[in-house]
């Protein structure tokens, strides 16, 4: 029993927290790595005074597979499969990052049709990932139904993915210089039909949750982070945009053929959980519109450029990044001019977003910690790599 606790040095940044009253001690609650609300093997140590969080220490690394080190020992085409397993709910977006990095290094461009197929796949994947977010976020708050609705729609997207790449999750479909094979004939009509269904599904979630009284109570003003702090922490993606920073790689450093598409970027201003949720709702709708535009642009043609099968980029360094559903996913490759990278480092958006968790959470209730973690929308495969 200590009367007062010195400024805690458990977390990364020291936050002065009020010491408990004399004669009392705060309770340590360990959440995770096996906890329904930590979205994987994430652990947080909470120091709580009653229900109020005084301190939070995040622990990661339970899923650390050394992907980056592994990549140094694999050829570039093999690395694509490793990237599938980083953020395992938005695989296409991950693949796009690594292939565009190698293409940038080699100074090759995929055929226009392949670029559009990539965009369509990535945007579908963004919707799929956001659908998963709505569902799990609702579950975090005790609403069990939205998950089922969203999985219904996600299932359709996965079926489309399966028809395109042959796999539901680990696609290995993008190649350096194009995509593995052309899409089927009915792909365009099927995608357009799917777009309508998705729009309906997103509307359904929107109606079910966004304006719900309890939902608003639970998310409004919870876990607020200002734009400056968000930048300071290196947040990205919907989390950063919800704080009012208009940064989206698709418009700030347009890659692929995003230059030719007209779409909106939802930007919040409150920086709370509700904004982070609603930004994602609007973003999914914009993705639907991107897909429609991209399909309209599709023309028959090659889907693979004429380059060597085994990529052998020149020596050099490259940093390429794309807008993942979770944020700015980047990859830094140091090449010495072989079939394998000399060093490969991923900029994992979830990892950066997760850093801010402590700042967001301290002072809130245990139930809020779960909600805040939900809105950060982490995928541990990417956090730990």
């Amino acid at each position: 029993m200590t009367e007062n606790v010195a400024p805690t040095n458990l977390g990364s940044t020291i936050i002065q927290v009020p010491s408990p009253e004399p004669g009392t001690v705060d309770m340590m609650v360990n959440m995770g790595p096996q906890h329904p609300a930590t979205h994987g093997v994430f652990r947080m140590e909470l120091r709580v005074d009653g229900e109020q969080i005084q301190d939070l220490v995040p622990h990661i690394g339970y899923l650390h597979r050394g992907s980056e080190k592994l990549c140094e020992h694999e050829s570039y085409s093999q690395i694509i499969t490793l990237f599938d397993r980083l953020d395992y709910v938005s695989n296409f977006n991950n693949e796009l990052v690594i292939v565009s990095a190698v293409e940038k290094l080699m100074d090759v461009a995929p055929p226009p049709r392949a670029e559009l197929i990539r965009i369509i796949m990535c945007e579908f994947n963004r919707i799929a990932s956001h659908l998963l977010f709505y569902g799990t976020f609702a579950i975090d708050m005790g609403a069990i139904t939205p998950l089922l609705y969203n999985f219904r729609d996600r299932e359709k997207i996965q079926a489309l993915f399966e028809s395109v790449s042959g796999a539901r999750m680990m696609h290995n479909y993008f190649r350096v210089g194009g995509v593995k094979e052309d899409v089927a004939d009915e792909f365009e009509s099927r995608s357009l039909a799917l777009c309508d269904e998705l729009e309906h599904g997103i509307d359904e979630t929107d109606r079910l949750l966004t304006e719900n009284e309890i939902f608003l109570e639970r998310t409004s003003g919870i876990g607020v982070i200002s734009g400056e702090d968000a930048l300071d922490w290196g947040l990205s993606g919907p989390v950063l945009r919800a704080s009012g920073v208009p940064y989206d790689v698709r418009v700030d450093e347009p890659y692929s053929r995003y230059d030719e598409l007209d779409f909106g970027i939802p930007v919040g201003s409150a920086g709370d959980c509700w904004d982070r949720f609603y930004v994602r709702i609007l973003e999914a709708r914009e993705s639907v519109s991107i897909i429609r535009q991209a399909i309209a642009l599709m023309e028959p043609g090659d889907t693979m450029s004429k380059i060597r099968r085994i990529a052998r980029p020149p020596a050099g360094e490259v940093y390429a990044h794309c807008e993942n559903p979770r944020g700015d996913l980047g990859v830094y490759i140091v090449s010495e001019g072989g079939e394998r990278p000399y060093r490969l480092k991923v900029r994992p958006p979830s990892f950066c977003n997760l850093q801010a968790l402590r700042d967001l959470t301290v002072g809130h209730y245990i139930a809020d910690a779960v909600v805040i973690l939900g809105t950060l929308d982490i995928v541990l495969g990417e956090v730990d790599r």
Binding site: S220, D248, P254, A367
Partner: protein, 413 residues
Amino acid sequence: MSFTDILFAFAGLFGLFSALLVGVLSLTWLERKTLARIQQRAGPSVVGPHGLLQPVADAMKLATKEDIIPAYADKLLFWMAPAFVAVPAFLIWLAIPFGDRIAVRVLDLGLLYLVAISGIGVVGLLMGGWASSSRYSMLGGLRAAAQLVSYEIPIVIVILSIAVLVQSLSLDAVIGGNTITIGEATRDLPGQGLIPFAFVMPMGFVIFFIAGLAELGRTPFDIHHAESEVVGGPFVEYSGVHWAVFFLAEYLNTFVISALIVVLFFGGWSWPNPPESIFGNDLSSITTNFVGGAWFMFKTYIVAVTIFWIRGTYPRLRIDQLMTFAWQVLIPLSFVNFVLIAVVLFYDWPLWMMPTLSLPILIGAAIGVQRGRGVRDRPQTVRILRRSAGEIGRPMPNAPTQTQISGEGQGGD
């Protein structure tokens, strides 16, 4: 007490116990099916026709599972806790009338009995939470204590208002009406044969329903066993039969609250169509009682389905919001309800004065809760910025220039 009395009591208890077990099994099936329909899926469909035997299979599975006691648990309390939750849940049913004067024990102080017994369950939850020696269970147990004790108050006050209305603590009087003598005058007090109390005091009904949900720990008040926060609360460490007993108690309580809502606010076995209107005045005939009992069960299931429906729809509140709601909204409202009924009875106003007075208060309170929290007026904080309009990102290579956009009218905004 004669031997036959004891025999009948045992027979009644045994019958009640079996009937309740079947009721609980049916309720789990009903909940799973209802939720499945809400969530656009099939629900249990493999074991038995329409999955009807799924609860039986579940029960068998639970009974055969290993019953684990954590090493650091307080073993005695850990063993006893499920009983402390389940036994009161059973005991409540002793007083609930399934027909006219048909209950295991017809109690003149039925309402008092209900209130007294329903308060015991929280002890079991707290015991389970403490004894498990897990932080989650501890938090869950404390949450349960805070929540259940707080929401007990509006429930008691509403029950008290009903007692004042019928001038009796007997559940039969609540359903069938009562005649009392005050001084010289004899006065008929209302039962629910014609108008159920839900219409007489809508405010009381709403308070009771909400507080009942909280007593059950059902969405949106499922805070003490919130899966995503405290992973099941007091039940985290329980497994096998002990967990099954907790589970049983949970559903029994759901059943109890549904039955109580029906008895207190929807006329129990009597409304609509009091049996005598069909079968004459022979209230003791088997047919009459059977029809009454069926009515009662039917209504109970309807209320239960409503509770499941809410579970399929709403997110969960937070502990402080829950407590604030109880102490700042429900408890004052329940007092208002109590005072209203007292005033109406004292001045001998007609009963329709009750809904006319309380409905505006109820609606006003609902609006006040919305406005007071200010969330309804949440400003739209998310805007969509377009690159083509030059609001975000790098300028588009082929985008129309700003002047062109503003030349079209409001487009530039």
